[in-house]
Every structure is written in structure tokens, then in C-alpha cells.
Amino acid sequence: MKKLMLSLLAGVAFSGAAFAQDFRIGLQEDPDVLDPHKARTFVGRIVFTSLCDKLIDVNASLEFVPQLATEWSWSNENKTLTFKLRDDVVFHDGTKFNAEAAKANLDRARTEPDSLRKSELASVDSVEVVDEYTIALHLKQPDATLLAQLSDRAGMMLSPAAFSGDVVTNPVCSGPYKFVSRVQNDRIVLEKFADYRDADEFHFDRLIFLPIPDSTVRLANLRAGDIDMLERLNPADAESVRADAGLNFLPVAGLGYQGLTINVGDNPRASGPINKDKRVRQALQLAIGRDIINEVVGHGLFEPAQQPFPPASPYNSEKFPLVQRDVEKAKALLKEAGHETVSFELTFGNNTTTSAIAELMQAMAKEAGFEISLKPMEFAAMQQEMKAGNHEVTQIGWSGRVDPDGNIHQFVTCEGALNDSKYCNPEVDRLLNAARVTPDVEERKKLYDEAQAILMDELPIIYIYHQPWPFVTSAKVSGFEPSPDGMVRLKGVKLEN
């Protein structure tokens, strides 16, 4: 009996040693639908990174690298994009990945009525299966943004056999981890996909994503060892995390920005001097110290932004250096515009960081003669007001895209879906539309520089800082490299026991 017990115990101990290793990641929000063609949140993309492989990926310098496609080339005056696909890929349900599957996915993303990828793939006219492992995308016109789209959710591949199932709650992809279960607001569990081509490089048996919205609690969970990694640390905790030997602090400047969107359109709310006169907006920019915001609220994580493009992007131009705070110059500009003081209402989505920034800006701008009244709002309500043009100045951000177009076009073109400034300048439209169809980086940059020169003068949006992605891991985690897109790539990441 005793012997039996001992051997049982030994068995338990042994299986314990070989037992599945979990990796737990604390997320700031609960992701939305898990269908890459219908998903919309940033946080959902963190889960997709481990779940669904894409045609191509981006690296830390924002260059495109192979994933499901091994190589790609442009032809036919940049109107055909051809991908060579890997021949050793299977989906989580065992279905083989090939050109037919890739076409089925791209067509699904282009045609499903509620696909959110439609506009991203709008330039694609047809998808052709060239041979078993080659596809060609035929475009209506050249599209410089297409590769970037295909390196994100639009390029994610689902098993065509699972299209008829409930993709939204049970996605079948071909990434290193496969879907196991989800409890909304609680957890998403993935497990290692044994047939993945690089399975040896992924060291965890299960991934558990835990939405923990309160950043203090998220950090406490990491310190208590209940999670192994968290994303989006509250900047106020940066000091204490840096000083903690049990934690690794891994911040990286992201692709997005936070800024002030000013209503400059032709509508009743855009009637104040700040809305009507660009000199007043220029004065406001001079009155606000971006580096002060970085120091006081960002604790060094809010890298000041002058342009919509991230610092890592080749389109971030040296022609537009950071405008430094200059109260005297701001006053002079206001005077020139015929004002002693200018008052306006600043709307912001209510949370601790945004309200701290709004109050700081209010205080700084006051020295130059601005009387800012603050209007904190709940986020969904604020979005609706902005869309309706019912705001004066709003503090809001953008999570950012790899391709420069995603950070500028929709915001300042006359018909842009996100143009909450209601700004409209045919010349800017012309330049940004031209940049869309110009694949050459140098030429494209010239177009963006020209457009930026106009926008920097008219200032429908004042960019304040680049959104950081501060990751923190337990010191037991090694091999994690943060990327500017804020994704968690787990290849080679290890966890000591």
C-alpha cells in the first residue's frame, strides 16, 4: 500500500514537472469578436498575434517580413501584387493552407457585409490563384498601403472549412497557438499548436489572456506572480517598476499619437477664434509644452509628437522639428490676431491620464491668455458628439497604423470617415491621395512633406505625444522584445520556473 502511494506520488510529481507551462498576460481591456475580419479593437490584435498567422508580418523597424508568404513582388505598373506562399502550413483543424485558402480568405474579407476589412482591401479588384502556392492580387489602382493592411488583420488566414461555423466565438487559424475557450471579461485560453512549423521556438503549452482593466490591480497581479506579463502600464507606476528587481520594464514608442482635434469646419460650434483663426491655433501650440506633459504626466514615456507618423517610421520628417513652448511668442500671435484672451471648451474622454493632461494644458495655456474650460465626457458619448461636429476642441488619440496613410488620410481629407476637425483643403486631399498610390518611399515622403507643411500651418490637429506601449514582465521572463505596433510576439520567449 505504502509502495503504491509512493509510486502514485512519484507519478504526480513527475507529471507535475512535465506538466503544461502556462504564460499569463494581463490585458487592459477585454477583446471584442475573435474573427479577424470583423474584429475592431487594438487589444484583440494582441490575441490574434498568437492565434492567427498573416501573409506577412512587420518587424521592429516597421519593415515587412515573411510569415505565410515567403516572398512578394509588384508588377504590371504596381497593379499586381504576387505572393509565393509556404507549402508546409496547416490550419488548427488540419486543413492544408494553399493558394485556394488564401483566396477564400481575401474574398471573405472583401465581401462579407459586416467585414471591417472591406475598406482596407478596397483597392483589390480580384484575387487569382496562379498555382497551388502562388496568388496574385489584381488592383484597381496602385495601392501603397496594401502591404501594411496584409501585415495586419486583413492578411490573417482562417481555415476555409471553418467559415460556415461560428468564427466569431471559435476562430480556426494557423498561428502558433490554437483557440481553446473564452469567458467574456475573464479570460481567453489558447493552447500550443503541435503542428506549427516553428513549434520548437514557442515554449509555452498554454497562453492565458486575462483582461484586468485597473492598471494598479494589473500591476499588483504581476507582482504577486498571478500573471507573467502586462501591457500598458500606467506611466505613474514607471518609477516603482524600474526600481523593482523582480520586474522587467520594456517600454517602446508606439505607432499612434494623442493630440488635440480642433473643429475648424463650417458648423455652429466652430465659431470661436480658436476654430476660425489659424494664428490662434498656432499660439495654442506655442503655449503648450509637450516636453512638460511628457515629464509631469508621462514620467518620460510620452515622447513629444509634432507629426502623426511614429518616430520609427521613415515618413517622420526632419523638416518639422518639435515646436518648443514660447509663451511670449504665443501672446504676440494672439495680439496679432486681435485678441487679449481667447476662451474655448476642451472635451476629453474621462480617465486619470487624460484629465491630468487636460488640466496641465489648461494651466500652461492660461499663461499665454487662453481661458480653457474643461469638459470630461464618457468616451462613447464623446465620439458621437465629435462625429456630429458638436465640439470645439477635443483631446483624443489614434492607436496608429504601420502605413503612414492610416495615421493621416482619414483625419484631414474632406470626406475622411474620421475627419472630426471637419477640415477640408483640396490641395491636402490631392497630395494625400497621390501618396496612396505611390509605392516609392522617397517620392511618397515628398508628398507627405508637402501635405504636412500645409497642415502644420493650419493645424486642424495638434499632435501632443506618441502613444507608448509600456510592457512589464516578471524577471523570470526572457527573450521578449517589445515592438512599436504594441503586439506580443512570443517566439523565443521563455519563462523560468
Binding site: 467574456q184 484586468i212 504577486a224
Partner: protein, 315 residues
């Protein structure tokens, strides 16, 4: 008894109907458009229009309500606009969590509240009474989220005794499940115990000064028997009312506590749903908690009858 239950259930139907109508109306009054959240950061107008049609959001208010009512009557609570998961699945996932949290918090609250209430009544005016009152006052005044964070810092981060947050289903690992729920239920129980203590104390004080207690004492019964057997039973009525009402409230979810301890219960589900204007989820959850509340009232009535024989034979 059966008659009472039947009557209660019949009354519940119009109540639930009214609740659903009010909640539906209130949601429509909220500023903000669910489609702006649903259509993603890009807000493609084409997709917004498609979704507006799909979810009947173009129709007048009463039609939208009727669509919803028709589906509910056929047992379909709709799908979450945000995650596509059926609302019935969500409720089935969250209900056990909420019930477990409510039951554990209630047990702790009863274990703390009633004995201290009795003690405080018996020792009225003595040091123990003042201490108990002071503790009760702080139990009510200390905010749950603050107490929760402080407890996580001390118990989980410093001492590493209990998990900081999360939820493990009871069926998966009972011990771990109770360990994770211990801190949140304690936090919730602090305020509840304080209410219970105050009510027990005043009810007991009333009963202890009545004639039959004096008689019982005069008979020479042990003080313990007088207090626990004779007095407590009569003092229980208001405590039962309070307990069932508090429990009904617990079933509606404990928003702040759930948020701090990231417990996937009703409170968190509901708040998230309101913020993303996830109408179907808000409707389903409110209906469910309203039903829970009505059930609790019914339970209170039944308990009265069990405890007070005079109510068993209504004239």
C-alpha cells in the same frame, strides 16, 4: 403556502415587463451610438449602415422594443453586439460566479454581523458595544475598492497568501476557487456585516426589553438560553428582510469589487455593456437580476412563514 408562491409569480410577470421597458427606454436616452463602437476605429460609413439595418436601429423605439420582446418570448436574448456571444451564454457563464460571490459574502457577513449584533445588544453601553459600533461604522464607511486594493497589496503582494484576483470555477478546483473568492467576499461582507450588526442590535434591544424576556429571566433560565432561544428568534424577522434584500442586491453584481478583483460577474458585465452601448446584454442582465430580486422577496415571505407560526394560517 403554494397559493402565496403562485400569486407572487403572477405578480412578477408585469414587474419584469415594466423593468425591461424602463431599461430599454433609459438606454435609448443615453448619448452615444453603439455602432460607433462596433464599427471599429475606422468607422467605415458603409459598415455602420449595414449594422444599423441588421440590428433594426433605424426603426422607431417601440418597434425595436417589440423586436426584442418577440425574441425574448421565444427564448432568444440576442447576441452581444461587442463579442457576438449569445446573451444567454453570457448569463450562464456569469451567474455561477455572481451567486458564489454573493453566497460567500453573505455567509461571512452573517457570521460576523449577527454574533456581534447580539453581543453588542447584550453588552449595551459597555466597552464591547462601543468597539463593535465603531467597527461597524468603519465597515460601512470604508470604500470597497480601496479596501480591496489595500488587501491585494498586503495579502497577495506582501504575504503571498491568496491570489490577487481572477476567478476559478468551483467545479474545476474547489479549494482554489474559494481561495480566490475569499478576499472579494470579505471586502463585500464588511459593509453587509455592518448593516446586519446594526439591525440585529436594535432588533435585539427591542426584544430584550419585552415582558416575556423578563419572565424567562425570572424563571431562572440561563442567560444564553434567554438570548439565543427566546430573544433571537423574535428578533430575526427584520434581519431576514434585510438579509434577503441585501442578497438580492448582491445578485445584481458588485461592480467595484468585481472590477478590483477582476471577477467576471454580473456587475462587470453590465458596466462594460453600458460603456459599449451593448443593448442586448444590458437588457438580458437586468431582466435576470430583476428576476433574482423578485425571487429573493419570495424567499423572504416563505422564511417569515417558517419562523412565525402565526403567519401560517392567514385569516
Amino acid at each position: 403556502m403554494l397559493k402565496i408562491i403562485a400569486r407572487r409569480v403572477l405578480v412578477a410577470i408585469p414587474t419584469l415587463f415594466l423593468v425591461s421597458l424602463i431599461v430599454f427606454g433609459l438606454q435609448k436616452l443615453l448619448p452615444g451610438d453603439p455602432l460607433l463602437t462596433m464599427a471599429g476605429e475606422e468607422r467605415n460609413p458603409e459598415i455602420i449602415e449595414f449594422l444599423r439595418e441588421k440590428y433594426h436601429l433605424n426603426d422607431p423605439f417601440y418597434l425595436q422594443y417589440l423586436y426584442w420582446l418577440r425574441d425574448v418570448l421565444t427564448g432568444d436574448f440576442g447576441n452581444s453586439l461587442r463579442t457576438g456571444v449569445p446573451v444567454s451564454t453570457l448569463i450562464a457563464q456569469k451567474l455561477p460566479v455572481t451567486i458564489q460571490l454573493a453566497v460567500m459574502a453573505m455567509i461571512l457577513a452573517l457570521l460576523i454581523g449577527i454574533p456581534t449584533g447580539i453581543m453588542s445588544a447584550v453588552k449595551k453601553g459597555k466597552a464591547a458595544d462601543y468597539v463593535a459600533n465603531a467597527v461597524a461604522l468603519s465597515g460601512v464607511s470604508i470604500p470597497n475598492f480601496w479596501l480591496g486594493i489595500i488587501m491585494i497589496m498586503i495579502v497577495s503582494v506582501q504575504w503571498r497568501l491568496l491570489p490577487a484576483s481572477g476567478y476559478v470555477p468551483l467545479t474545476e478546483d474547489p479549494v482554489q476557487s474559494i481561495r480566490t473568492m475569499l478576499m472579494p467576499s470579505f471586502v463585500l461582507a464588511t459593509a453587509l456585516a455592518a448593516y446586519l450588526m446594526r439591525h440585529t442590535r436594535s432588533a435585539m434591544l427591542g426584544v430584550l426589553s419585552s415582558d416575556y424576556i423578563r419572565t424567562a429571566r425570572a424563571k431562572g433560565l440561563l442567560p444564553r438560553v434567554v438570548v439565543l432561544k427566546h430573544a433571537l428568534r423574535n428578533a430575526l424577522m427584520p434581519i431576514i428582510t434585510l438579509t434577503t434584500l441585501l442578497f438580492g442586491e448582491l445578485l445584481a453584481g458588485a461592480v467595484l469589487t468585481e472590477q478590483v478583483f477582476t471577477i467576471p460577474g454580473f456587475g462587470k458585465l453590465m458596466v462594460d455593456a453600458v460603456f459599449t452601448r451593448d443593448y442586448a446584454v444590458v437588457q438580458g442582465v437586468v431582466l435576470c437580476t430583476a428576476a433574482g430580486f423578485i425571487l429573493m422577496n419570495l424567499l423572504a415571505d416563505i422564511l417569515y412563514i417558517l419562523i412565525n407560526p402565526r403567519l401560517r394560517h392567514p385569516q
